[in-house]
Amino acid sequence: MNPIDHLNNQLRELARKAFQDNGIELLIGYQKGEDGITKPAIFYSFEQVDLLIWDQQASFNLASLVRRFRDKKIGMIAQGCVSRSLVVLLNEGQINRNNLFIIGFPCQGVVDRNQQLHSACIDCQHPLPVIQDCLIEGDGIARQSDPANDLVIELNNQSQSERMAFFSQEMKKCIRCYACRQACPMCYCDVCFVDINKPLWLARTPDQQNNSVWNLTRMQHLAGRCVACGACDRACPEGVNLMVYLKKMNQVVKELYGYSAGLHLGEKPALNAFQPNDPDFFWGKEGV
């Protein structure tokens, strides 16, 4: 039996058990669509679980659906990045751990629209879930990015004007459909700043200037919260390279605060916590 089928059999078995023994009301997972694409699905009963599947086409981060069912007892399947998203949501008080039953499994990485391994997965360090209630044994694939092909390193070595040129070119593509925001489990504000028009915070015109403000603001709101799952990047219909900026931002957070989002329950997000030895240089050390 090939490994993916084996994994799916185990997933279904554990999901059935969760319905029977753990009293979950619904299960968040994936199923195959009519056209053979793996899509997110909600399973409400033991019988429906036969359709549950996971494969490398499953590009959607299931954690972005959790908040809408948070009053119910939810079961869900989760690999590394999805469980890290859940940890961030738990740490931010958005969901209740007691209402959550997590079936963890090792991840092989997911593919993008061109069936290539997605850029979020090429340097994935956490293929195994960080929290779970039951776990499917196995080794996920942790990867190191190839420094020769790493766009973050490449951009780092470029001049400011070259970086700006790349950024402008990416921002011109955006059509402001806000799929990135909606696909992101961390973008859960009830009212997003772009959805306020009394007064108008940001013009809706999808030009480079407004698009830059939108994307930069979203990314900054994710500083210290982004788990680099890549859901926004895969959701973008225009192929805007969001991943390279989010990865860079995560590196900066790691350098400054020694913090990676979603690894430990009960932790305060980097930008929500104060420590006397705060490395931020404008806080009275080098800057003053």
């Binding site: 669509g33 899509k39 699905a41 909600i42 108008l200 809706r204 030009d207 959701a235």
Partner: protein
């Protein structure tokens, strides 16, 4: 008046070359971006203004452009958008672009995985709203023209037209693909769609995994909702029109802050019923071309064909 031309490969190239000396000629093919983005751009500046004089500074100008090669489902945009935007009072910005646009569509030679025009009563070889449609047949091209200016241009180049007697005649000479597939039950929604409004179970099921982003509406050839915003810089400013989407929460948020469509299920209901119930009620046509972009590009891979079949069971 419809006319029919038989062209060889050289004739066709000669025609395009001749046209390109007079007007802009643009080659197109089916892409992720619908032809709507040209007819009804994602953002346009309607006019510029000054605060002191209230004078509009711009006028609408547009040059004639010939687009060729786009699929029939994209050509249908011109019909569907026109039903709404040209209804009295006509939208002058759309009308100007439309009147200066000549479309020669090209019949499709295959179905892509998410194509379903033939399941909603269309055809990959239909003229739809195009000025003309090109069929690739064995010995060259067959061109069916429904545009006086275009006919004249062809006649001036000494191509000989045949008058079209029977619109049903097969000009494609069998070059258009046909497949055995069950049509979608759109008639149920057309006639009894209103009865599904109160069926919460249906809309909860449909919207369970919808993220409420705007991809499907932004890329839909038939969606025309827009927002207008004044953007001022001190004493001068401009009025901009951009796309809006019924899936956004702000779309229906009222000045008081109340939102009559508070959750995704109400917004999904609006999207589906507008296309398949309200559109036919108002204009007699469904607001869908069957291009499949909303299926291919949806981050949750929600399939509108499955939704239509689900909705059928709730029609009373």
């Amino acid at each position: 008046m419809m006319r029919f031309f038989k062209l060889t490969q050289q004739d066709w190239e000669k025609f395009l070359q001749h046209q390109s000396t007079q007007i802009a000629v643009v080659s197109m093919e089916k892409s992720k971006h619908p032809f709507k983005h040209i007819l009804f751009p994602p953002h346009e500046t309607l006019f510029y203004f000054r605060k002191d004089t209230h004078k509009e500074l711009s006028e609408i100008k547009e040059n004639k452009v010939l687009y060729y090669g786009l699929p029939p489902c994209d050509a249908k945009t011109i019909q569907l958008l026109g039903l709404n935007l040209l209804a009295d009072p006509a939208d002058p910005y759309f009308q100007t672009i439309r009147d200066n646009t000549v479309i020669i569509s090209k019949a499709c030679d295959h179905f892509e995985p998410n194509c379903f025009c033939d399941q909603i009563g269309g055809s990959p070889g239909a003229l739809n709203g195009a000025s003309a449609i090109l069929y690739t047949v064995e010995d060259g091209f067959h061109l069916l023209v429904n545009h006086d200016w275009l006919s004249e241009q062809l006649v001036q180049m000494n191509f000989i037209p045949s008058e079209v007697e029977n619109e049903k005649a097969d000009f494609s000479k069998g070059s258009v693909p046909v497949r055995e597939i069950k049509p979608l039950p759109i008639d149920h929604l057309r006639e009894k769609g209103l009865s599904t409004i109160s069926k919460t179970a249906l809309w909860e099921k449909v919207s369970a995994t919808c993220l409420a982003c705007g991809i499907c509406t932004f890329l839909c050839p038939a969606c025309y909702c827009f927002d207008i915003q004044d953007i001022s810089f001190g004493r001068v400013g401009k009025r901009e029109r951009t796309y809006d989407s019924c899936l956004f929460s702000i779309y229906t948020t009222e000045a008081s802050g109340h939102n009559p469509r508070p959750t995704i299920k109400e917004r999904w209901r609006q999207r589906l019923l507008h296309k398949f119930t309200y559109y036919p009620m108002q204009y007699g046509e469904i607001g869908c071309t069957g291009c499949g972009r909303c299926i291919s590009e949806c981050p949750s891979h929600i399939d509108i064909r499955e939704v239509i079949r689900d909705a059928e069971q709730y029609c009373e």
